[in-house]
Assembly symmetry: D2
Homo-oligomer: 349 residues x 4
């Protein structure tokens, strides 16, 4: 263990998927953290570098079963599990010492009923909802500080909400029609091979998917509703890019009153002036501008001709859209500066 001066003790449950391995990549170099357990039910007993050879000679953990976790001696448990599986662990850990950051979708929505409607299954742990805090620091920092169960936002929602929230907070736009055209790399679909992520189907190709029914639709809309958006206001259309990492969201909305380009930019700049990981950009950002980092780059502009606002945001879906944001949440929950251990500079090219 690399830091022995009373380090914070964290565990990663489900460390072999992409969010789990990205958590490892980030937490391994976090100055105040000791990783006490790295679990995988499927690969327990193997070295992590046998699954992820890029960690060889660097990150030495042996994967264990989740029951080897000691929740009473752990400060933060990261659940990097599929939705529907995560809730079982949250239930088991609910009366233990450890606090939880859940990277699945199991506690992001407002109620078990909404969950059932959009995820198509009943929730086994409805008791968890009242305590769960939606882990978007740019909105809920005050509640995350003391959260015992932080629902780490989805990748598309992180990008989409950050790009839209200044408009709603400032009451600038028609709250009944918000169009989000989003494009993601394939790691959002996980590490398990299937036809959708088969190289020959993705390479040199592009497609929309999940029209009208993608689960992130309701996650985005519920959050935007807290800022004034109307029910059934968010149309969200995801697309699959032939890249591994990165999301770009293009968001269209209509001003409810007269607006200028200058005003619009000032609203955003003011809103994000103190945010360590939101960068306002004068030009449309690209995926590589944030690749490997925790930044969300945003560009906003007003089209006077058509009277529409275009907001563009980009994140690395595995960092700000998953593991990086989870560590930012952890820092907040543990009273550390939020950017601790998150100083990765975007890698371009």
């Amino acid at each position: 263990m690399k830091n022995t001066q009373e380090p914070l003790r964290v565990a990663i449950v489900g460390a072999t998927g992409y969010t789990g391995s990205e958590l490892l990549r980030i937490l391994w170099q976090h100055p105040f953290v000791e990783i006490t357990a790295v679990t995988s039910e499927r690969h327990a007993g193997k070295d992590i570098s046998s699954i992820h050879p890029h960690f060889r000679n660097i990150i030495p953990y042996e994967l264990t079963h989740a029951d080897a976790l000691h929740p009473e001696e752990t400060d933060i448990v990261f659940l990097a599990l599929p939705h529907g599986v995560s809730m079982d662990y949250v239930q088991k850990l609910s009366d233990k010492h450890c606090r939880i950051i859940d990277l699945s979708g199991d506690y992001r929505l407002s109620s078990p009923e909404v969950y059932q409607e959009w995820y198509g299954k009943s929730h086994v742990h409805p008791e968890g909802f009242p305590d769960a805090v939606y882990g978007l620091l740019e909105l809920y920092r005050d509640r995350i500080v003391s959260s015992r169960l932080t629902a780490n936002p989805g990748c598309y929602p992180t990008c989409s909400i950050l790009a839209t929230l200044p408009l709603l907070e400032a009451g600038l736009i028609d709250p009944t029609r918000i169009i989000i055209d989003a494009k993601s790399g394939t790691t959002g679909a996980g590490i398990s091979p299937n036809a959708v992520t088969h190289f020959s189907n993705v390479s040199d190709n592009f497609r929309a998917y999940g029209l009208k029914t993608h689960r992130h639709t309701i996650e985005i809309e519920e959050q935007l509703r807290t800022l004034g958006a109307a029910t059934d206001s968010v149309l969200f259309t995801p697309h699959l890019l032939p890249v591994d990492r990165g999301i770009l969201a293009t968001i269209y909305s209509q001003p409810r009153k007269s607006i200028t380009e200058k005003d619009l930019r000032e609203v955003y700049h003011a809103r994000y002036a103190d945010e360590p990981f939101v960068r306002m950009r004068d030009m449309p950002p690209t995926l590589k501008d944030v690749r490997g980092s925790n930044y969300c780059d945003i560009h906003v502009t007003y089209d006077g001709r058509t009277g529409q606002i275009i907001a563009l945001a980009t994140i690395d879906n595995l960092v700000k859209g998953a593991a990086g944001q989870a560590v930012q949440n952890m820092n907040c929950m543990l009273g550390l500066p939020e950017d601790t251990g998150l100083s990765h500079i975007p890698m371009h090219p």
Copy 2:
């Protein structure tokens, strides 16, 4: 020359760019065509396969200067030139025997004034506008038959207009707000290397560009206006995909009256039932579904929750978006079946 029974005589002016070479690929196998001149001012005297080695042993032409073209003995001249250059050739050829298919943007708009506004330069040949026919066969077949100057549509406009026109023709949508979020491969940017198309800037990357000002905006809007769209109704946002060929447009509009999914699909199926190159799809189409072919695949759906219509269309930007559509126009102008020489099956993978 491969076909000697009174073939139709065609020439390609500007044969070394991507639209020019794609014209060659298609016309070379056209059963009724004789290619009488293949020009390049820059590479005159060279064999075409020294520029495009994939043509080696197949297509034997030596590139000539454009002045080697004999317009009086040519049935169709294809101008595969940059905008601003094409107009000079049209002017020179305007009183000659040959008919012209111009693949540039020089005669696609409604007037020299609109051209100047969006292209930022004055038009040297305003006399050409009254005669020019916008070469979208699905709209203007009747006029193209006898056209002497066919303005072959832009790649984004082809895809965007085909996806939207049934909605406007049927009076289904609010004509004041049409949002087109389009994504294109890099060949749309041409064969000349620059920073935007530098491999390291495109690969594993994605970006929006030309926000609010892309020239295809007005081309799309002017065409949609003829079908009922309002002035300043079209918001068009192009994005650059890390693929070489293909465009996918995602189009959002709002019904002006109650509508069902079934009605919507029937409108499209009826509209395109006799079109040889428009395929209605039950699922969102992908770029590779049309790659290398002249097809435009369209999927349309209604989102009852938000009350929005989503239309998706995909084309190969070099075929249906340029050279293939140009040959389809030629067939129409010469009285041939429109699909002659255009039987390329999409290449997937």
Copy 3:
């Protein structure tokens, strides 16, 4: 059926994989062929375009079970099946009217014993070996004409053998040490998703695989031995490229006597002067120079400094490396000009 003047009757067994769908793409436009059966055990009863949507509105077949095939009324049966499965079909069809082109590896090697050694399973139909002809037209045209069972060469072997054979035939090189460093796109690994072909593992990545043991090693070596290569002379190392189609092989050998660049090129040019699908190139060829076509492009050069010969060859693995070569074999077997229905021009870009 598109051609009714006594067409040749062919069937495709296993039409849903990449070689099967590529056979369909090519055979559908073959002027003298009628496709009488297109089979898939897994997808029988479905329309082919429900599996391969790019065929929609073009290729209308319903997939059937293989037992719907009428071998007595079929001229050529293409077996586009995995190795180990193909041999069962060959056995069943061995006393029927139809002739067979097997695209698997089941009959490419010299004996059941060699097959067992390299494929790790015993061969159920050793009786097939004496009759099987290795379907490399550039070597065995005379035997293929009358072949009843043509073993269509593997993709790597096609590319590697064509690049090397003039050297051995002319007795130019040391026959004991031939090094083949080959690079392939992912479609060579088939249509079934797995970790190796998962987009995130291939994109922006590159690797060697199958070191020392790839089955194409022995296929290449056995063929080269017939031309004079020594036993255990061929070292073959395949690599996986982040592209969908295409193979490039870089082949190193040592002259056994003094040689000049000019001599070397003349040997190749003379050898391939009459081959319709081998193109000698003055510059190193690229994958896209042959993409979608049946060409094999070859460049050869002598490095006087180190005294080595470098031969480079590229093919489209699904065309010249599979379906295209199979159709070329069919043409030969049926007495048609070999290039019938194979006039696809490479698609670049």
Copy 4:
């Protein structure tokens, strides 16, 4: 400036290319370094983030002309310039306080004569050669410590030499014939757009280039000669991969005496046991296993059938192949632990 306790003062001359920006990415987080000048003749006066937007809000430097550099107050000057330009700067700085790490090819070869032969131009500063130390720490650590002019190795040579040197040092192989088949991403070709790196020419494509004449050939051979390789023994063939970062070299050689797989692996493990950035791998490494990091991953195996040794190595060409290795050299030259500031974990996916 981020570190004020007597930091080491470094300057980057030519900071806007890929090696320059990668130096910035690494040095910015180096705990003991103060960057005192970041120069660009072309972009002087601009903020670095106007050229490289991914640095926005992170790295604040304004680009200056090189003459703003104070060599007497600078500990290390990194020259990230093209070959032929770098030598002018070395000459000017040769009698100054600062020590130099030159990332160009200007001082990597053994003499001005060899330079002229392979680079096709005469060297303006032959006086530099005697002092220049080839900056491959795994070979020349002892000399680099006190070097005043370190010639940072080329990307291909770094990868190729590290994969081969244990074989030569141990006297295991025939020193007359070493075949290096190398594959690189496009960033090795630099930031300037040209036809070779135009997206449409690279994407979905692959090619060999620089056959027999690539300048890295002689750089590799000269280094291997110091370990026993013969003159004219190295055949080096580079290829261009459709990826941005990464090199994989596949190296073929012949044992001069009987050898076992076990022996072979032990030789490599022993040789690199203490090297911080060389990782021996049991399986062939991939580009992504080292992406963004300073590691060189190596796999070696013996093919008993053909009697050949295959060595595979992979690096990130911009890190271990350029900027990372340069910082490793700097650490050595300044007496710091070599891995200081180089703890980047490879980014996969």
